[in-house]
Each structure stands twice: as C-alpha cells, then as structure tokens.
C-alpha cells in the first residue's frame, strides 16, 4: 500500500504535461517517418487510378447545364469529354485541368436541353471511365434574386409560421381541460414527434446515400442528430439550473414548451429544406393544396407546443409569439437554403439536426405524461400516441414533396 502510494506520488512530481507530450511526440515522429518513407514494405498501389466524382449542384440555364463536381476519390480526375443524352457536347471547366482530391470544379455544358425532359449526363475521364449523373426533370433553375427570396419567405411563412400559430390557438382550450386531458395531449404530442423523427431519419438516410461520400453520407445524419440532442440537453439543464426556484412554482411548463418549440423549429428547418429544393428543381407543385396540407400537418405541431402550458401561469402574448417564431420561422430559412444550395451533405446534416432535436424533446416530455400511479404507458396515453402518429401520417400524405 505504502509503496504504491509512494510510486503515485513519484509520478506526480514529474510535470504532468510531459506525460502527455512524450507519447504525442512519438506518434508524430512515427507518422512523419511513415510518410517520408512512403509506407516501407507496402510497395506501390496496384491497379488503375480510382476515379470518383460527385455532382453537388446542377444549374440549368437556357441552352446550358452547369454542374459543380467534387472529387470524392483518392486520385486526381480529369474530365476529358462530356456527353448529354448520348451526344458529346462542348464545355468549359473552371478551374481548368484535373480535379484534385476533395477539390471542386464547375463544368458548363453547351446543350439545348428541353424543359420537362430527363437527361443522362456522362462525364468521360482521361482513362475512359464514365461518371454518370441524371437530371430527373430539366427545369430552369430559379435565379436567386429578390423575387425568389420573397417567394421562399412567403412559402416558409405559409407552411411554417401560420400553421404553428393556428395550432397554438388551442391554448385556451388546453388550459381549461383537466390535468388528465393535458397528459393525453402530451402523449399525442409524443406520437406526433416520433413520427416526425422516423420520417426525418428515413429522408436523411435516402439523401445521405445520394451524396458522394467525401464528407460522409448517412453518418452526417447521425452527427447532426447527436449534435442537436446534446445541445438541447445542455440547453435544458442550463434552463433548469437557472430557474431552479421558478420550477417549483410550475414554470417547468414554459421550459418544456420552449424545448418543444426549438425541437419542432429544427424539424421545420428540414421541412423547409425539402420544400425549397423541390421548388428549385421544379418538382414542387405550388398551390393551395400544398399549403392546406401543411396547415393541417403543422397545426398539430402548434398544439404540441402549447400542451405543456395547460397548467401554471398564463403565458404572455409575447412569449407565445416567441414560441411560434422559434417553431415556425426555421421553415423560411430552410426554404432559402434548400432552394439555393443543392448539397446533399448539408441537407443530410440538417435533417439529422431535426431528428436529434425531436428525440430530445420526446425525452423531455416523457415524464409529463405519467399518470397518478406513475405509469407512462396506460390505455389513454397509448391511444393518444397512436392517434398523434396517425394524424401526421394522414396529413403527411397531402404534402409529399
């Protein structure tokens, strides 16, 4: 015992940073030696160069198709020729020459495309490999001008802000309802959020598989989800600590509503993203039907936000406005991003953020649905969860973009 304690003390006498610096230095030296010697004993890599390109962005202008390509493979790639619908075309590459690893290049094709037609584009590299890209439906890409941003803002407001605000109008009803009803409302909210989480996850995996992989695919979804979950959990514990005294007097309802609003807001960011990118590629039928669908869909989200406010102090109009904006306005931002950046990596990450936020909110709400016996899953709560998910499923059918 004594010897061990002495040994520990002896170690403690040396500067602690030295203990970390020695292994760090050895690691650096080993890596440097390996790099300088070129991996001794491994020899040259066998086989032809590995050529991978991801098309990150497609812009269609009259008589012109512009592709932003990124080298997602280990070797440089030279695009030597390009064919569209099996016809070679003239093109400009900027910057010219080969594309280095992780570098991007803009390739502008001189081609008289027709609106509404699909196109198969084939990039022929210097080694004769082909990298194919498909345009599902050719539609002129909207210019990012004031009118376009105005339209996206209007769209975001229609599908995000207004429906959420409408849903929040249930507050007076919720406040008069007995406590047991409120628990059921919250259970329904959980069902509804769980649906959104699954929906976001599926969409994110689909999108993640589309991306080239240089910056990760589906793992970006998990990265975004983990990040959002931890950030919200941190925010929640911060709010709890700060208002520890107020919690006792029923302010926990407000905190919960705030968390739900933030979570739904992050989800609506992803929803706006989908709408914006669908609009950009011409796949979105703008119209009353879509807006009505979203109104129904997102109204339930407004209800979810006000459910925790049933008990306790009556919230001020300003606070309600804050909740509404937090939950709804990110749809506007999402629409901007979605319509102007068609980058699957960014979209996957943002969808992950939405998923993580929702999962965190579910964890937050869970204790609030416990009945007097302390059970979370009782007939009324289970039924409410199912109804919550079902409502979103059916309203979601109206708005598949």
């Amino acid at each position: 015992m004594e010897a061990a304690a002495k040994a520990a003390r002896g170690a403690g006498e040396r500067p602690r940073w030295l203990l970390a610096a020695v292994p760090l230095g050895l690691i650096a030296a080993a890596i440097a030696a390996f790099a300088v010697l070129g991996g001794p004993g491994l020899g040259e890599r066998r086989g032809p160069p590995v050529e991978e390109l991801a098309v990150e962005r497609t812009v269609l202008r009259p008589g012109e198709i512009e592709l932003t390509i990124r080298n997602t493979g280990p070797d440089p790639v030279q695009v030597s020729q390009v064919s569209v619908a099996d016809a070679y075309v003239d093109f400009e590459a900027d910057p010219p020459g080969e594309v280095g690893r992780l570098d991007a290049q803009t390739v502008t094709l001189d081609y008289p495309w027709q609106e509404g037609s699909p196109y198969a584009i084939s990039l022929l590299t210097s080694t004769g490999a082909t990298i194919d890209h498909e345009i599902d439906v050719a539609v002129e890409t909207p210019e990012a001008d004031a009118g376009f941003f105005g339209l996206m803002a209007l769209l975001g407001t229609y599908v995000g802000v207004i429906p959420v605000a409408l849903g929040m109008l249930f507050l007076p009803f919720v406040r008069r309802a007995p406590a047991s009803w409120v628990r059921v409302f919250l259970a329904a909210t959980i069902g509804l959020l769980a649906f959104l989480a699954v929906d976001g996850y599926l969409e994110g995996t689909e999108l993640g598989q589309e991306s080239g992989g240089a910056f990760g695919g589906v793992e970006l979804l998990f990265l975004g989800a983990g990040l959002a979950y931890l950030a919200l959990a941190g925010l929640d514990s911060y709010l709890r600590a700060r208002h520890a005294d107020a919690e006792a007097s029923g302010a926990s309802g407000w905190r919960l509503a705030l968390m739900i609003a933030v979570g739904i807001g992050l989800h609506n960011l992803g929803e706006g993203l989908a709408i914006g990118s669908a609009y950009a590629i011409g796949a979105l039928a703008l119209g009353a039907f879509l807006v009505i669908g979203f109104a129904l869909h997102n109204t339930t989200e407004g209800l979810a936000i006000v459910a925790p406010l049933a008990a306790g102090e009556r919230p001020s109009l300003a606070r309600l406005a804050v909740l509404g904006v937090l939950a709804g306005a990110p749809a506007i931002l999402g629409a901007f991003v979605g319509a102007s950046v068609t980058n699957p990596e960014v979209s996957t990450f943002l969808l992950g953020v939405g998923v993580g936020a929702i999962v965190q909110v579910i964890v937050q709400i869970w204790p609030s649905i416990r009945d007097d016996g302390g059970r979370s899953l009782y007939p009324a709560s289970v039924a409410a969860m199912i109804v919550g998910g079902a409502v979103l499923y059916f309203t979601g059918l109206l708005i598949s973009v």
């Binding site: 009259p62 020729q81 016809a87 001189d110 008289p112 027709q114 080694t127 004769g128």
Partner: protein, 394 residues
C-alpha cells in the same frame, strides 16, 4: 474463281434487320434520348467543319442564339450538333497513326514473283499492347497489330500467295483469323493449326488470296469480344485479277471503344478509331473524281452500324465479291464483320457530311465530312461510275 464471284452477286439478306431485335438500353437511357435524337438531326445539318464556309451558315447560327454560343457554330456545339470539347485535340504523333493517312494507306507486302508466275506477298504483324487516344484527352489501353488500330490494310490480288508472319509481342495470347477461303490450320482459331500464340511466340499464316472482295482479319482468342474490342482487327482487300477501275480509294473501318469496359455499348464511336476526326479534318477529294470506299464494320457490343452520305448516292457492292453493284443508295446498314465497297462521284463542290444513320453513334463521334475541291487537280479519266444508269464494270 469467276463462278464464285458471280454467285456473290446475290447476297442473301444483307442486313437482316437486327435493329428490330432489341432496343439499345445502354446505361439505362432515359426517355429523353429519343427526343434528343429527333432534335439532333436537323441540328447536324447546320454543322460546318471548315473556316472557309463560315459565312454561309452565319444566319443559321444567329437564328438560335439561346442554344450554343454564337461564334462556336463553326465546329458544332449546342444546337449546331455534337462535338468534343472545343480546342481539345488528339495527339496523332503519340498514337503513332493518323486516321487521315490511314484512309489511303494500303500495304501490298514484300512482293516477289515465283518462276511459276505466282506472286508471293509477305507481311509481318506484331501484336503489341499500347495506350491510344481515341477522343481528345481520353486514353484507351488498346491491343494492336503493328501499333495501330485498325491494323495495317493488307492488300493482294486474287490468287496471290500470302505469307503473314505473326509475332505476339503482347502480354496476352493472340491469333490472327482471316476472313477468306483457306485451309483449316491457317484459320487462326485456338486449338487448330498454330492455335493460340502465347507472349513471344510466332507463326506464319500462309494461304492463297481468295475470293476477291473486301475482307478483314482479327484476333480470335477468347474472350473474343474483348480481343476484338481492344483493337485487334484490320482490313484485308483482295483485288480481282483484272483489278477495279482506277479511283481515289479510301479505307473506312467503322469501330468504337468501350472505354469503361462495361460491355454495354461504347463510349466513343468512329471511323478509323478517332471520334469526329473527319469532322475536324475533312477528307479531301476532287470534284467528279471516281471515289471508292472500302467500308467495314468491326464495332463490338452494338448489334449494328450504318453509313450514310449526304447529298449524294453510291453504288454498293456487298463484300466487294461482285463487280456489279446491287444497290444505288445513300445508306447501308452493317452487322459486325459485314463490309462492302462503295463507288461514287461528287458532282458538287463543298462540304458533305457522312455519318452513321444510327444517330446515337453519330453524336458519340461517328461523323465526318468530305471536302470536295472546286477544280480537281488529280481528277482521273471520266469514269463509268460517275454516269447513270450504271451497269458495273464486271
């Protein structure tokens, strides 16, 4: 021999309609392909390959300013038709062959006459592996005879004795299989005669050149499709004993390159290997000159190929085994290894497009131009086949 030549007069179902068998579903083509094909043809006619005739087409180019930049009209692009990237060129010197020179490059072999009167011709063909540029900036790891694709155009006269020494300098086993009439052991297929030649081995194929006509040779090692697709083929012309009327003779090997090796169609289509070569460098011919084209199809992975000439018609001699034409037309369709002799004259000066009337191939490189000079300085004696009706020269 003469009898055989006569029976060749009536070739059975030349084209056989293979195009109806199956559509081209290469690379999961989308519906847009059909629309594009339809839109492309009128556009092709607006394509002008030479600086000298820009002004004639300027109206055309400015009529559609939205599609294809003005000033680019001269060499295709946008609605003016398919093109490789402007400014990019193939390095013929590095390739070691030039499609323009290939047109009129006939190898009669080392010739000597035996006391019996028989002519003996000797060639040496060496198989090598080499990278060739089949489109500007696009390199293909080819297998070649004598370093070129197609291999040398071997030419003999009917009845000549042919000795082809074949040395396999490639890393892969190869043969040479000639189309023609010869003993079994000279057929150049694995397991018969010399069979497959491994790296460094050699053999001599020896036979009599018959029947007269336009033939070909190619490697017959397996996998056969790959050995052909890689470039191991060439034209083999047997002239009739009395020869054919003098003409400006052009050898055109329709071929293609499946550069991504997916065995589903080709990425580059061409005549004599380099895509769009004769669009960038039109074939120079004289007005009213008798012109004879030895046309062969060695395209792999696609069931058919075709040849179409603009603003002109030609007399067609399937496989060249008869001296009487069977058709007077402007389009022929050929399956793999089908070939024929085309004879024509250009009565008008100017640029005349020729291309596969399989428009997909056209837009992937199989398109070129004849440039017919105003006054021909090498005009030959007026030939019967510039006249109509034409009865042949048998």
């Amino acid at each position: 021999m003469d009898e055989r030549a006569t029976t060749g007069d009536k070739p059975a179902s030349r084209n056989g309609g293979p195009e109806r068998k199956r559509g081209f579903s290469r690379r999961g083509l989308l519906a847009g392909g059909a629309a594009t094909g339809a839109a492309a043809l009128p556009a092709l006619h607006g394509l002008v390959p030479h600086e000298g005739v820009h002004s004639a087409l300027e109206g055309d180019a400015s009529a559609a300013p939205a599609h294809g930049g003005a000033g680019k009209a001269a060499h295709g692009g946008g609605s003016n038709g398919p093109t490789f990237r402007h400014g990019a060129t193939v390095d013929h010197a590095a390739n070691g062959f030039d499609p323009t020179e290939m047109l009129r490059d006939y190898d009669w072999g080392k010739t000597r006459r035996l006391p019996t009167g028989r002519v003996v011709r000797e060639w040496e063909l060496v198989a090598t592996d080499r990278e060739i540029e089949v489109a500007p900036g696009v390199h293909y790891p080819a297998w070649t005879y004598n370093g070129r694709v197609p291999g040398p155009t071997l030419r003999a006269r009917e009845g000549d004795r042919m000795r082809v020494r074949f040395v396999n300098g490639s890393e892969h086993p190869h043969t040479i299989h000639f189309h023609g009439i010869h003993p079994a052991e000279m057929d150049g297929v694995p397991g018969i005669g010399a069979g497959l030649l491994e790296t460094g081995e050699e053999t001599t194929y020896e036979f009599v050149a018959e029947p007269f006509g336009l033939h070909l040779y190619h490697c017959h090692a397996g996998p056969l499709a790959e050995h052909i697709a890689r470039g191991l083929y060439g034209a083999f012309i047997v002239d009739p004993k009395r020869g054919r009327p003098e003409a400006d003779e052009l050898m055109m090997m329709m071929n293609g390159f499946n550069t991504n090796f997916d065995a589903e169609g080709n990425q580059v289509y061409a005549v004599n290997t380099v895509g769009f070569h004769y669009a960038n460098e039109p074939i120079q011919v004289g007005r009213d000159d008798p012109i004879r084209i030895y046309l062969l199809n060695l395209l792999e992975f696609d069931p058919i190929n075709s040849f179409h000439i603009h603003a002109n018609f030609f007399h067609y001699f399937p496989t060249g085994t008869s001296l009487k034409p069977t058709d007077f037309t402007d389009t022929v369709m050929l399956g793999q290894a089908q070939r024929g002799v085309l004879e024509m004259c250009f009565p008008h000066p100017g640029h005349f497009m020729f291309h596969a009337h399989k428009t997909e191939f056209t837009e992937l490189g199989w398109m070129g131009f004849f440039e017919v000079g105003g006054a021909s300085d090498r005009r030959r004696a007026p030939s019967a086949f510039c006249e109509l009706p034409y009865q042949g020269h048998g």
